[in-house]
């Protein structure tokens, strides 16, 4: 996927941001060598598991080059029909293998923005193993991979008649005589418009119009006898509706672009965008026929993405992937694509892919840096065996560990904690382990 030409105003804004606001102080051990922490923050928001080498290499480049380079170098993982992966019967495999497959994609060194957006859509247009099978969820994954940076309308059309979604939000059991309102409600409330832009009667109409879809072994089918075949009023328009026209109507609603772009902005930049920026993003979204890529690019090249005062909370899976990169994810198995993933880690951390807490997906707020989370993260770390490669590579000093983690700006509290730990712990492997553990638990690493 190629990166569209940069929009001039964003490029200018970024160039401004990339220049240091003040000269480095005498304590800036790394800043001088490696450049802007803003650049690093940008990279951390574009990659699940950036390696130290990559971070430190890009850090010495202007943010604009680093980001461009990153966007251009990423590999999109979107298996086609002939991919050997397609032959796997996930219903006959463990849940852990499905998790393993996805986590490997996330921590892959060339996985970038596209992979992040696959995770975003899984949380936004979510479905759960609670009601869908593993094979259905894998098929839904492929759908997210196909549309992650594609067209929102196409994505919403596809997800509306996706097997996992039909199972999860009860479309599978809905017929016009007894329409299930679950999907129709969430389509508007959570997926595309936000509360306040429709009436209860619109939900009832949508439920009828969306009725009649069934999930069978061979795939998803529409049974006209189960559907509703008469005019209905939906969002102010009276006519015969079907799933496709309902979704189109929702996509054409003026609330759609602001709602969807605001949600994408929160995910990508980690903050609530100012209203005028949402207006700008909505305009870009609509002008580009609801293409997702131009909106994401506008966010990345916009004024909020690398704002120093904005800190994005890493969700557990994002933290685990980033931690995995720092601690060496090739370590656990000799053959290794990555660590062997076990679902209970995610259970411990409170974020289990394919098992969202509810249809609203996972919250993206500061609960992920709260007490229970810290205990669970430290607990995971406490049993980790540091690979020899990392032990050899990382100097057992505070500077060495911070350089390895590419954290060039840390607060005095974090610095004091590391200094104290280095002073108390003899200079051997255990010290490296201690400093790494504290670093990945630090506010600086927990946010990115």
């Amino acid at each position: 996927m190629s990166t569209p030409p940069l929009r001039r105003p964003f490029r200018d804004a970024l160039t401004r941001l990339a220049s240091p606001a003040s000269a480095p102080t005498s304590r800036s051990l790394f800043a001088a060598q490696t450049g802007s922490d803003r650049t690093l923050r940008a990279i951390r928001r574009l990659r699940f598991a950036p390696s130290s080498q990559e971070l430190n290499r890009f850090a010495s480049a202007p943010a604009i080059d680093a980001i461009s380079g990153l966007l251009e170098s990423e590999r999109i993982y979107n298996p086609g029909p002939s991919d050997p992966l397609m032959g796997r019967d996930w219903n006959n495999e463990s849940y852990d293998s499905l998790l393993q497959w996805w986590f490997e994609r996330m921590i892959s060194p060339d996985a970038g923005l596209h992979e992040r957006m696959v995770w975003f859509w899984h949380g936004h247009l979510t479905s759960s193993q609670q009601k869908a099978t593993r094979s259905q969820l894998f098929a839904q994954q492929l759908l997210f991979r196909q549309h992650a940076l594609g067209n929102f309308r196409d994505l919403l059309q596809a997800i509306t008649v996706d097997a996992a979604m039909l199972r999860y939000l009860d479309g599978d059991a809905s017929d016009a005589a007894m329409p299930n309102e679950n999907f129709g409600r969430e389509l508007m409330e959570l997926f595309a418009l936000g509360i306040g832009h429709y009436e209860e009667s619109d939900i009832r109409s949508a439920a009828k119009a969306l009725a009649g879809w069934r999930v069978a072994d061979q795939g998803v089918t529409f049974t006209p006898e189960l559907g509703f075949d008469a005019p209905l009023t939906f969002l102010g328009e009276r006519k015969r509706w079907d799933a496709q026209s309902i979704v189109n109507k929702v996509c054409d609603h003026p609330a759609c672009a602001p709602f969807v772009t605001a949600k994408i902005h929160r995910f990508v930049a980690g903050s609530t965008a100012p209203p005028e920026f949402i207006e700008e993003l909505s305009r870009i979204f609509v002008d580009n026929n609801l293409e997702i890529r131009p909106v994401v690019d506008a966010i990345i090249w916009g004024p909020t993405f690398v704002d120093a005062e904005t800190t994005r909370v890493r969700q557990p899976i994002e933290w685990l992937a980033a931690t995995s990169a720092v601690l060496g994810h090739e370590a656990s198995t000799p053959t290794a694509v990555g660590p062997r993933v076990e679902s209970w880690w995610f259970d411990q951390l409170g974020q289990i892919p394919f098992v969202p807490p509810n249809v609203a997906g996972w919250p993206d707020d500061t609960r992920w840096v709260s007490a229970g989370q810290v205990l669970a993260r430290a607990n995971l770390l406490s049993n980790f065996t540091l690979p020899q490669k990392i032990i050899d590579e990382v100097e057992p000093t505070v500077e060495g560990v911070l350089r390895h983690c590419a954290l060039h700006t840390v607060s005095s509290a974090t610095r004091a904690a590391l200094d104290e730990a280095a002073a108390n712990q003899p200079a051997d492997q255990r010290r490296v382990e201690l400093l790494l553990a504290l670093t990945v638990l630090s506010p600086e690493f927990s946010l990115a």
Binding site: E181, S370, L386, A413
Partner: protein
């Protein structure tokens, strides 16, 4: 990383490795007095338990992780919280008050109902997820209609403890019945739907049909009101944090296993250093260093919250340090529910400020094989909950703890095959300072709703008002939209 592996691998019933999903970030910096307060309360040894390695292979190639059950999505969530009892230790209520953290959020009205005097009360909510069949729990066994609707699902009289000529309670609940159990009839959400999801959301958020769903959970709002500056006012047990415990203030947390905190009090220099490091890192005073272009005044709110999280983690661990789950299987059934009740009993005994605890049990969605499944689930509940009540008595908390069950809906009176479909009204159990027997009005089997389901005779809101205002002294008007009245006569108070 590395190092001392926890002394024992978890031997807990569900061997869940531990964890937490915590819900919220801890509140404002609490200062030494709170820490000291907790230190006073923290009793026994930290729970032993390991949780498992981030990566599987150990130096000797053996897995050192304990692998808890994998997620199977069976249970949507859990959470709860329980109020602590402040009066039973050496710490007086005055000390606690002095330790309050400033409340930075708008206070809600809490003047209309005085807090109950005496010991602080705790509420334990047990969510029976999937839809518990009230008709198989409290059985109108002599009803001709029921005999017609359930030709093969009606229990034999031998399987019932007969209350009178019309009703019997299933023997699956015998232990608790003998300990004292109030059976509250006809609970439901008027006009509800048959969707688990919709009805769970209504129950979690405490919102009746027709009203816009609240963004916080009913139990979370109770905790917002009950907050007195303790690290945790509401605690969710089970695999996932229940939306019922979502709070506006950072006063609730989730935990599947207290053993995640095993490392905090390890007497080993590496862990001592880790703990010390976290403590130092949680200080809010530092200005940015190392080449900083960022000063503390510019630090984002998220950074501040993350720092608080680090400090509160140690506080939370102290709350949990009195919890020893190493031998729970000696006393509790070896399943997830026994585990949750075992933790709840110890958290209550530790008296560390937890006022609401939420526990989940299921799956009650008995579309088939209802008889076997339902009895089995209730027997599990009976075993775990009766042991919990024995331990409450041992810690002197029998009169300070109210246990209440909830379920998203009941089952349809007419059986379908060997099971039942989603229904409407169900029933709830209350245990603690309550009278034995059945309360309220049983829904009519003759007059079903348009979907052939039982019509509720008591709304969720009234039930919740009874728990919130009647038991915990939180005015219903501050936590429930309609501000319904407390159901009279249910609680002994």
């Amino acid at each position: 990383m590395t190092t001392p592996t926890p002394p024992d691998q978890p031997t807990s019933p569900n061997d869940r490795g531990s964890t937490s999903e915590s819900a919220d970030s801890p509140s404002e910096p609490t200062g030494p007095s709170r820490r000291k307060f907790l230190g006073l309360l923290a009793g026994g040894a930290a729970g032993a338990a390991g949780a498992g390695a981030l990566y599987v292979s150990n130096q000797d190639g053996t897995p050192n992780a304990t692998a808890p059950e994998t997620a199977n999505g069976a249970d949507p969530s859990t959470s709860s919280s329980a109020p602590p009892d402040s009066s039973s230790t050496s710490v007086s209520p005055d000390d606690m008050a002095a330790d309050q953290t400033p409340n930075t959020l708008p206070a809600s009205p809490s003047t209309s109902v005085p807090l109950p005097q005496g010991p602080m009360r705790t509420l334990v909510v047990v969510e029976l997820n999937g839809g518990n069949d009230g008709l198989a729990t409290l059985v109108p066994y002599s009803s001709r209609q029921l005999q017609k609707l359930r030709p093969t699902l009606l229990p034999a009289e031998d399987d019932l403890i007969l209350l009178d000529n019309d009703f019997g309670v299933t023997r699956s609940l015998e232990k608790n019945w003998n300990q004292g159990l109030a059976l509250v009839q006809g609970i439901g959400i008027p006009g509800g739907t048959g969707s688990h999801f919709e009805m769970e959301r209504r129950w979690w958020s405490g919102t009746e049909m027709g009203a816009t769903l609240a963004t916080t959970g009913f139990l979370g709002r109770l905790c917002d009101e009950l907050d007195q500056g303790q690290p945790i006012t509401g605690l969710t047990l089970g695999t996932r944090r229940s939306p019922a415990m979502l709070s506006a203030k950072p006063v609730t947390a989730g935990l599947t296993n207290p053993s995640v905190s095993w490392w905090v009090n390890q007497q080993n220099s590496w862990f001592t250093n880790l703990r010390q490091g976290i403590e130092t890192m949680s200080a809010q005073t530092g200005s940015a260093q190392t080449g900083s272009r960022q000063t503390d005044t510019q630090q984002s709110e998220s950074i501040t919250i993350a720092r608080n999280g680090l400090g509160s983690a140690l506080d939370f661990a102290d709350v949990l340090s009195g919890v020893d789950v190493s031998n729970v299987t000696d006393r509790y059934p070896a399943n997830a529910l026994g585990w949750q009740f075992a933790i709840a009993a110890q958290v209550i005994a530790a008296n560390a400020g937890v006022r609401v605890i939420h526990i989940t049990h299921g799956n009650f969605d008995t579309h088939d094989d209802q008889d076997g499944t339902h009895k089995h689930l209730l027997r599990q509940l009976d075993d775990a909950m009766s042991q919990f009540r024995i331990e409450l008595a041992e810690s002197g908390n029998t009169d300070n703890v109210l246990i209440a069950t909830t379920s998203e809906f009941g089952r349809r009176p007419q059986q379908s095959g060997t099971g039942t479909d989603h229904g409407a009204a169900s029933m709830a159990m209350l245990a603690g300072p309550v009278e034995n027997g059945r309360f309220g009005e049983h829904p009519s089997l003759a007059k079903l709703d348009e979907n052939d389901n039982l019509v509720p005779t008591l709304s969720m809101s009234e039930f919740y008002a009874t728990l919130g205002e009647g038991w915990l002294g939180v005015p219903a008007s501050s936590v429930i939209d309609a501000a319904p009245p407390v159901v009279p006569g249910l609680l002994k108070t």
